[in-house]
Symmetry: C2
Subunit: 330 residues, 2 copies
């Protein structure tokens, strides 16, 4: 290659990596030779010599649903465009498995890492710090955290949704939450609901918060459970949309009128929320933007910029037909 261009290998390398450091006559000769020979740099050789792999790791709780899959697609596209390769792993909400993936990716020499949420063992963060690579925790926004976060304020979003239901007149709430242990996003959503209800002087007993693994059938089960209570709740806040789907499906099967008898609210505004009948009131979360901002942040960090993560991304309360004022005269 260098021979064909009539320059040294060092000049070829400079033309490809720092073109401004090469005079244009030589640069032209190199470009011609690249074209003529169809030259493609050998990734491993570059990684070895430069001590940078140009690979970025991304560990999601799951990739088989639209929530994380959407962010992953955007993330991958942005980084591919800048010559980076994204290596994906799924943890299944299992902290041990996630830790294993982190170790494995670090061993593979990734240049940067995307993680979901901040709740994890300090050992993991120490491992990452020892490698001195940039990382970012997404789906959460916590300006007090020592970890760079890109996401939205789960507390405020849940609070806002709850305020809306309170303003509709609801006073009897339950919340369907994902497992709280190790899932800071789920914890934040519960916290947001608590804050709103506290602010309004509305009690939320501990047994009004039900905790299950994410899933539609779990939503169905919780719905059956709470609707047997007397008095039954008039508003159900779901910390994740599969729960809301399950609740809506179960209500239909049991001829329980939504929202006439009970309002149901979701969280995330995935594609099915607007298709259900009644269409779900929910919080729209910025999935694409998360993928995009995470890519931009890591790219900047990899360039050596000392930037802070962006301000929290916006969520929007999306009001649809699944919520209405509570039944009168109970």
């Amino acid at each position: 290659m260098a021979q064909e261009a009539g320059v040294s290998p060092a000049t070829v390398s400079r033309c490809l990596n720092t073109p401004a450091a090469v005079r244009s006559d030589k640069r032209q000769r190199v470009e011609d030779a690249v074209r003529k020979l169809g030259y493609v740099p050998h990734g491993a050789a570059r990684a070895l010599a430069s001590k940078r792999s140009r690979m970025i790791g991304a560990i999601f709780p799951a990739v088989d649903n639209a929530l994380f899959g959407c962010a992953l697609e955007v993330f991958q596209q942005e980084l591919a465009h800048e010559g980076y390769t994204v290596v994906v792993a799924a943890s299944g909400y299992d902290a041990d498995l996630e830790a294993r993936h982190v170790r494995n990716l670090l061993q593979n020499g990734i240049d940067a890492l995307l993680l979901v949420g901040t709740a994890r063992s300090p050992d993991i963060y120490r491992l990452i710090a020892a490698r001195q690579i940039p990382y970012v925790a997404v789906w959460r926004s916590d300006q007090t955290s020592e970890h760079p976060c890109i996401g939205f304020d789960n507390i405020a979003a849940a609070e806002h949704l709850t305020d809306y239901l309170v303003d509709l007149g609801h006073r009897r709430f339950v919340m369907f939450s994902g497992q709280l242990d190790g899932n800071d996003r789920a914890q934040d959503r519960v916290e947001g609901v608590r804050r709103s209800l506290d602010r309004h002087g509305i009690p939320l007993p501990a047994n009004a918060i039900l905790e299950r693994p994410f899933g539609v059938d779990e939503g169905r089960e919780m719905f059956r459970l709470v609707m047997t209570e007397n008095p039954a709740p008039t508003a159900i806040i779901c910390g994740s949309e599969p729960f809301a789907y399950g609740a809506v499906f179960e209500a239909a099967e049991r001829n329980i009128a939504v929202p006439d008898q009970v309002s149901i609210a979701g969280f995330d505004d995935l594609w099915l929320a607007s298709q259900l009948s009644p269409a779900l009131t929910t919080v729209r979360t910025p999935q694409r933007e998360i993928g995009q901002e995470a890519a931009k942040y890591l790219l900047a960090r990899l360039k050596g910029d000392r930037i802070a993560p962006p301000r929290p991304l916006e969520t929007h309360l999306i009001i649809r037909k699944s919520t209405a004022p509570p039944p009168a005269a109970l």
Copy 2:
């Protein structure tokens, strides 16, 4: 590292890569030193020296839905377990973008490649062949194809589903299909429907096959269109489940009784099929098995085994409440 173990670097390398070629006393010393030093091989150095990257590329049309996401998760887990890294890209059903991803991955020196379907430019296959790496086309099974396929017989599955509807008494069919151009799986499903109806002497005019990009709203639109026909069809076969979701949702909104007035059948048995009301009759396709078999096949090929892809995986007709005999006395 080799110094710590008191052996040569070549012996360390052999202990890690071909342990049978090392006597146990030396092997023990190397294992001790690895443990003591926390030694981890440098991936790029291994790739450069061995001319194998231990990376495997996987290009899916999309990864933000359960269909491909499920297979991806299984695929990644199997390969990670054998020390391989999976690099994922999404093509958005765009042939040019897919070609770009293929080139990029080949340039990155992947050891093997997973693709979806076989319909693509011969240039792409030539590029892959030039690199002399194993590849596999999934989601299709075609024993006559020159390309190794792992999947199921889309034709037979669609035929079987159609037979079932014919046996119920249906004679007026429409099919909602994804874009046929460049999507061999979609073509096969149309072909299967045609074969069944031909075999039963039932006409399927060209305008009874509607072609749209995949999506729920597209399913809604097609449903509205065909249900204004007089006589309207009594059975709708959807080549992909989002169409079926859309049809069911639209039927509910228009007070069209499913399956009393029109039966709706899906394809793939994704998680929502069983949750809808009425629950969808559909074809269960082996998503997990595809990911698993693809991983096993590529691993064997990378080991140098000359194996054929597995026999076609099984599909199952899943009969639920969305289908019934056609309305009597029309």
